[in-house]
């Protein structure tokens, strides 16, 4: 107890804990919103839309989780076990859908598959059918949403599963063989159970993204929690009920998180960390190799290549007129906010991880652990949790100001860049912390000690050892945050200052107004910038696998 009191009074530690508490405020706010419970609002919600929200959100998350599992596991298995012509290029292609935000692929497919789109036009040309002669499945449905989101989220499962599969030692398979177990039995009884933690983690990440999605479901007109939160606040003007809905969604996400953690708890000992020889990949002949290639090509083809071609085609239709002052402002706004967020988030991550390293107290480790959970919280929820307290603060400040000066001050916090940066910090701090901690982990404590014993002062250790060694991980953290902010939609949509548009917001607005062709330019810009970290990621994975 004494120790904890001392920890709180230590200024450096106290500041970090305060920072952690600040980053948690939105979550406290949405859960505390239950203090103002309005029976009539909830009985209305329960009678009308609540069951839709719950059922659709759950179906979407489970469907996307399963879809990502099927696509990710199949491709990972083939890539980890077989050698075939074209495998190297698939190494790259399979990760590309990471660069495609779900809301963009959603309206791109709407354009491809609608009545005037290339698919139905071709169908009519071939068959000679006319309007009403045939029924065509509607992509703007729950099934459609599950499909398009699985197509861009499967890489989460794929990346983890591929590592898990290729790390399994060859001796396991040889042991199975020597006991007369067939290949199929070995896969079911050994390979899959060993890879299960990785598969579940990947699927859980995809599910959390599905819970968090706003753009796709809004565009497809599906009632889920995220669209419901928007409607409750901005349609019905009820911020408290929106916060309460947010807390329910948040609970769903946390349950997913807990289930994922529980599923991994018993399996820690699977990684024995011994030096072992991993299984060599089996060379496939022409026919089987071609089959493997085309099977693995399908997810990136539909998840990235085709939609990019469509976006590119639309962009060629509009680029002459679309690149105007407004578009330049859009690009500059996006770059500015993403850069600012990258700097803020990386700085916070550095402070938190360094504090944890220097003080090594359970309090600070817990602090880093808690703020790292922010990645799981949907952007909509964060936005609601920020907007409510900032709104109250603005009210209070204005009331105070008016009592002094008789005038109104206007918005101080809400609708400012500050609110946006606050939201991005919560959502993307985990990305930065993860990168910087792994970089910091490479600097072993004995390196600090070695430098000190060789006569270096603490400042010199920082300048000559830590900063040069951390540079790469700090830059990659900044890059990842930059791209994530560029793609982020719901929080930006809610919190952006008046008349402040970004590429993501504008692209979504244009698409919502059925101006798909005009939406292509900003969408393509987001996808292209998003490719940069994917390329770096592929390189890093390549390098790691060569070692």
């Amino acid at each position: 107890m004494n120790q904890h009191i001392r920890a709180l009074t230590d200024p450096w530690q106290g500041a970090l804990l305060l920072l952690g508490a600040m980053l948690c405020t939105p979550i406290f706010v949405i859960y505390f919103s239950w203090g103002a419970f309005d029976t009539s609002v909830w009985s209305h919600l329960a009678d009308t839309v609540l069951s839709d929200y719950i059922i659709n959100s759950l179906l979407l998350a489970i469907g996307v989780g399963l879809g990502a599992l099927v696509l990710g596991t199949t491709t990972a298995m083939i890539m980890a076990r077989y050698n075939f012509v074209g495998r190297r290029i698939l190494n790259w292609l399979l990760l590309l859908p990471l660069a495609m935000p779900a809301y963009i692929i959603a309206y791109t497919y709407t354009g491809i598959l609608d009545f005037m789109g290339p698919v139905q036009s071709a169908l009519r040309d071939i068959t000679g059918w006319g309007y009403g002669d045939y029924t065509f499945p509607d992509i703007r449905s729950l099934e459609g949403a599950i499909l398009v989101m699985s197509l861009v989220l499967y890489p989460y499962v794929y990346m983890l599963a591929k590592t898990a599969f290729s790390e399994q030692p060859a001796s396991l398979y040889q042991a199975s063989q020597s006991m007369g177990v067939t290949k199929y039995q070995h896969f079911l009884k050994v390979t899959l159970p060993l890879a299960r933690p990785a598969l579940i983690t990947g699927a859980a990440l995809a599910m959390m993204e599905a819970f968090a999605d706003y753009g796709t479901v809004q565009y497809f007109g599906i009632s889920t929690f995220t669209t419901g939160i928007f409607r409750t606040w901005f349609g019905l003007g009820d911020g408290i009920a929106a916060a309460q809905l947010s807390s329910v969604l948040c609970t769903f996400v946390f349950v997913t998180l807990v289930l994922e953690k529980m599923s991994r708890r018993k399996i820690q000992y699977f990684h024995q960390g011994q030096n072992h020889q991993s299984q060599t990949r089996k060379q496939l002949g022409m026919a089987k190799g071609a089959a493997a290639f085309f099977l693995c090509l399908l997810p990136p083809l539909f998840g990235f290549i085709l939609p990019s071609i469509q976006l590119g085609y639309w962009a060629t239709l509009t680029y002459k007129t679309a690149w105007d002052e407004q578009f330049t402002a859009l690009v500059l706004n996006s770059l500015f906010i993403a850069l600012a967020a990258a700097v803020v988030v990386v700085t916070l991550a550095l402070l938190l991880t360094y504090g944890k390293r220097l003080k090594k107290t359970p309090l600070l480790s817990g602090n880093v652990g808690v703020v790292s959970l922010g990645y799981a919280i949907p952007g909509t929820v964060i936005a609601v949790g920020i907007l409510l307290p900032l709104g109250w603060a603005d009210h209070a400040i204005n009331a105070l100001w008016k009592s002094w000066t008789g005038e109104l001050l206007g918005l101080v916090f809400s609708g400012t860049v500050f609110a946006l940066l606050f939201a991005y910090s919560i959502r993307f701090l985990a990305v930065a912390i993860h990168n910087i901690e792994s970089g910091l982990g490479r600097i072993t404590p004995s390196m600090d000690n070695a430098a000190r014993s060789l006569g270096a002062s603490p400042i010199r250790v920082l300048k000559q050892i830590h900063i040069p060694m951390l540079r790469a991980s700090v830059l990659s953290a900044a890059l990842l945050v930059f791209v994530d902010v560029l793609k982020e939609l719901p929080a930006t949509l809610i919190l952006r200052p008046f008349n402040f548009n970004t590429l993501a917001v504008r692209s979504f607005e244009l698409a919502s107004d059925e101006r798909l062709v005009d939406a292509a330019m900003p969408a393509l810009a987001i996808v292209l910038v998003g490719l940069v970290p994917v390329i770096l990621l592929t390189r890093a994975i390549d390098r790691a696998s060569q070692r």
């Binding site: 004995s446 000690n449 070695a450 014993s453 060789l454 006569g455 270096a456 002062s457």
Partner: protein
Amino acid sequence: MLTLNDIQIRYGNVTAVNYVSLSLKEGQIGCLLGPSGCGKTSTLRAIAGFEHVASGSIELRGALVSSASTHIPPEKRHMSVVFQDFALFPHMSIADNIAFGLHTVPQEQRHARVDAMLDLIGLPNIGERYPHELSGGQQQRVALARALAPEPDLILLDEPFSSLDADLREELAKDIRRILKHQKTSALMVTHDQHEAFAIADVIGVMCDGALHQWDSAYGLYHRPVSRFVADFIGSGVLIPGVITEHHQVDCCLGQFALSAQHQFDKGARVEVLVRPDDIEHDDKSPQKARILNRMFRGSHIMYELGVEGSHVPLLCLAPSHHDHEVGEQFGIKTDLAHVVMFARAS
């Protein structure tokens, strides 16, 4: 040159090192030996200045560097450390690594010193390379060169061989001893492996549960262990029950033995007598017989486990390998206890 006076190191409520005293002479190589968790590494870290002492003092060349109230920071102690994981800076070339401690030395001398160090460790052409390009043994030598470069008063080595292959260790231990002796550098090493300690050190301290049991030569530790722990930890051997029959005589199942040295036991005291494998000689003609319970072939020798009446534990006998006997055979033995080592019997 290095003196530890009753140092104590605590982590919270746990006392890791309890009243440890030792002294190392100029140019000597010392070693702290003990099982993991015995406090040897904490002692080393306190000497380097990475840990504070709770009481007692550490002096280097007569100057106080650590006490409850004084703590000279590590960078001001003129001691270098070679770490278990070598802790080479991965972003610096080998030459830059070695030059790291030479930042106060003028540029030209610095280059000359780096080259001299690389020559000393027998790797003259690797200055431009990076740590990850070297083998474990090479990294180890570079770590030593980096530590030696600033000509420290004392070199501290923390389990320097534990991350290397077993067959590399002996070779490197010899090399390191040669290099340290060549440079006339005082050194203190920490290890859990007695063979490493014997290969490198002039003087060895055996630690257990935070206490230093004995600070002595390898010969002294083996033949004159002061505690049951040291007797057990160093070499192999068994303790058999005995009784002091006369002030200068002890009786046990192997016979009566004369006691030449002073001891604290009274007549009639029940003791345990240490019997090393080399104390029991195999002699086919000897009237004293033992039954072979087990045998382990060791190349030039065979280690026999022998059942002797009066001892509930099997005795060990190291016999030349051409004395090839089967398990179950009777085996003639002659016992020659050059130094009788005794401890009080618990029951």
